[in-house]
Assembly symmetry: C2
Homo-oligomer: 363 residues x 2
């Protein structure tokens, strides 16, 4: 059977390995997953309660207006509900951004290494991809590349902080870039990990309302998968001016988010104690990862996220990842990003200790 030609150019995302699958395949009894930047403290107690209380409603279609969560987010961000769209993960909003702006005649821009899904979605449209020579966000390089291909570039992704590398632009730099580009170029600011960055350094804190007010082409992307610990429930959101949200709505399938995800997200936003504990654990434990790297002369970029990326010279990241897997520890090998590096999610204290113990033996 013949399929549309554009399918030939598509590649698939390589997801983090699943705990149950690894336990089975490697015959390991206890598996520690430090691969997918999930919240190591588990599901937030308030979200768990909402799930338990609403589980019996699984037979009912979701409220497609999503008014409860939208009201909550609108009040949190001081924006209008018309400036909001909710997706099956912020991934889905990335997809809408790509499909509404890109086509075979234009291009998008990102830094050298960033979230893989930007390029995967963009390939579906046949658009070109421009990446800076620097793997991290370098504002002057981004500007130079934008200027050179100004007529082509209709979408820019800024990942603030950057996954899978961990560095983070300042909010002022994001604004500087927004001021620089044409109004017809959509700038998607992927803030999936921005709560972590803001906690470490308030200069990194992005306010969607402030961005929207000043820049008609700003799109802020947030997720419930990281700090809010709902990775399994696929829920995220986009904040932008009404015109952009309207265009995205045309691409949205009805019922794109489950009713239990909506209920859990509403509850998770209120769980301030859980949020504080998550942020504190993360940066306390991050210090140990930095000390470990310094002690073993492993290069790393100071991280503003809930993970740290270690770079290697002689050791091979694939070998190291495979050796850890055999011990029941899953980390993320970054070979598919063209890097001899691994990304490790900051876990709970005992998980991190086990990682240090096992990793020390093999480096």
């Amino acid at each position: 059977m013949k399929f549309n030609d554009f399918l030939n150019n598509l590649s698939n995302y390589e997801p983090g390995k699943d705990i149950e699958v690894i336990a089975r395949e490697y015959g390991v009894s206890e598996v520690i997953k430090l691969a997918s930047n999930e919240n190591p403290l588990g599901t937030s107690p308030l979200a768990l309660k909402a799930l338990q209380e609403n589980a019996h409603k699984a037979y009912l279609y979701p409220d497609d207006s999503m008014s409860e969560l939208k009201m909550k987010l609108a009040s949190k961000f001081k924006v209008s509900e018309k400036e909001l769209i909710i997706g099956a993960g912020s991934d889905q909003i990335i997809e809408y951004a790509v499909h509404s702006k890109l086509n075979t005649q234009n291009a998008f821009l990102q830094c050298g290494v960033s979230f893989a899904m930007y390029e995967i979605y963009a390939k579906q449209t046949g658009a070109r991809c421009y990446k800076t020579a620097s793997i991290t966000h370098d504002l002057s390089e981004l500007k130079a590349l934008y200027s050179k291909h100004k007529d082509e570039i209709k979408l820019v992704f800024l990942c603030v902080p950057n996954n899978p590398l961990g560095e983070c632009l300042n909010a002022s730099e994001v604004e500087d870039f927004l001021s620089f580009v044409d109004e017809d170029c959509l700038v998607a600011i992927d803030a999936a990990y921005n709560e972590f960055a803001s906690f470490k350094d308030e200069k990194k804190h992005l306010e969607p309302q402030k961005l929207l007010k000043k820049y008609k082409n700003a799109l802020y992307l947030g997720t419930f998968s990281k700090l809010y610990a709902l990775g399994g429930l696929r829920i995220g959101y986009g904040v932008a001016n009404e015109e952009i949200i309207k265009a995205f709505y045309k691409l949205r399938a009805p019922f794109n988010v489950t009713n239990l995800s909506l209920k859990a997200a509403v509850a998770a936003l209120d769980d301030e104690d859980f949020i504080s504990r998550t942020l504190e654990n993360n940066f306390n434990e991050m210090k140990l990862y930095e000390e470990f790297a310094l002690k073993h002369a492993i290069s790393f970029i100071p991280s503003y996220t809930n993970f740290i990326t270690y770079f290697f010279d002689e050791k091979n990241s694939s070998d190291l990842s495979e050796k850890l897997l055999k011990k029941g520890i899953i980390i993320r090998n970054l070979k598919s990003y063209g890097l001899n590096a691994v990304r490790i999610t900051i876990g709970k204290p005992y998980e991190n200790e086990r990682f240090f113990t096992e990793f020390e033996k093999i480096i």
Copy 2:
């Protein structure tokens, strides 16, 4: 801001109204929803148990291989796991079928009135749409229209039984049609309600394994939203030969289904008692809807689904739906399908009684 031109041609699906929203808007205390073909018996006890037991895993990304559910479905249908793809509702598999086959240069075929999402997704590709003059599936009309535009038509939707009308082709007619069309034309057999039809009349029963074996271009679509009562959790599947599934996988975003949906679906498949009770309630109560229609001289098509469609001559379906809404009863007005008709989900006995009581007053 400029967006891709194709967005201008898109329309949105009109979902059934939400219970909580209607209660608020109309100030009604008890709302009865007979609008979205949800299972009136609620969530299956086994699925509910699975949700309660797995709710604490909401923080973990889903197993993207979906191996547990795939194994279960493969064994149920006697197909290989490579012949299966799981989507956020069977809607998402419809989307993959459309995007892998259709483009501005070709077309798809359906009967006069069928599930609205076929056309909504197809519009995203710019493909043409051919519909038979008959609103229901008329095999000879479908064949004639296919023959006339054979070179253009690359995808056909058969909805077996048909939503929103309720009629149902025999399995032998589906096979007859499959034998008739070219191998390069994908035939999507939407079996969302086929379990209901099979229970009423075994001649309607479709076996994916049998279809796959004989026809390389057959795609069977199933859902957990109706009989299995998981409409809120957005989960469905496609069964087709490996080549088709591979093409669809290229369009699939990672983690397209939530981890709780996967767990609930596995459990729901096992809940035989719940399934029997659902089917029995449905067709026992269906009789009352037929009697009601006969008594009031309302036209209807005998239904092989969990809903019945009433057609009106003089009364206006929009007025009738609105009057019922004020009484706290939600049914589905079919004006957006170009019909002066309403679709009513078969509810629990007391819900149906309330419908009859209120409807009798206004017709």
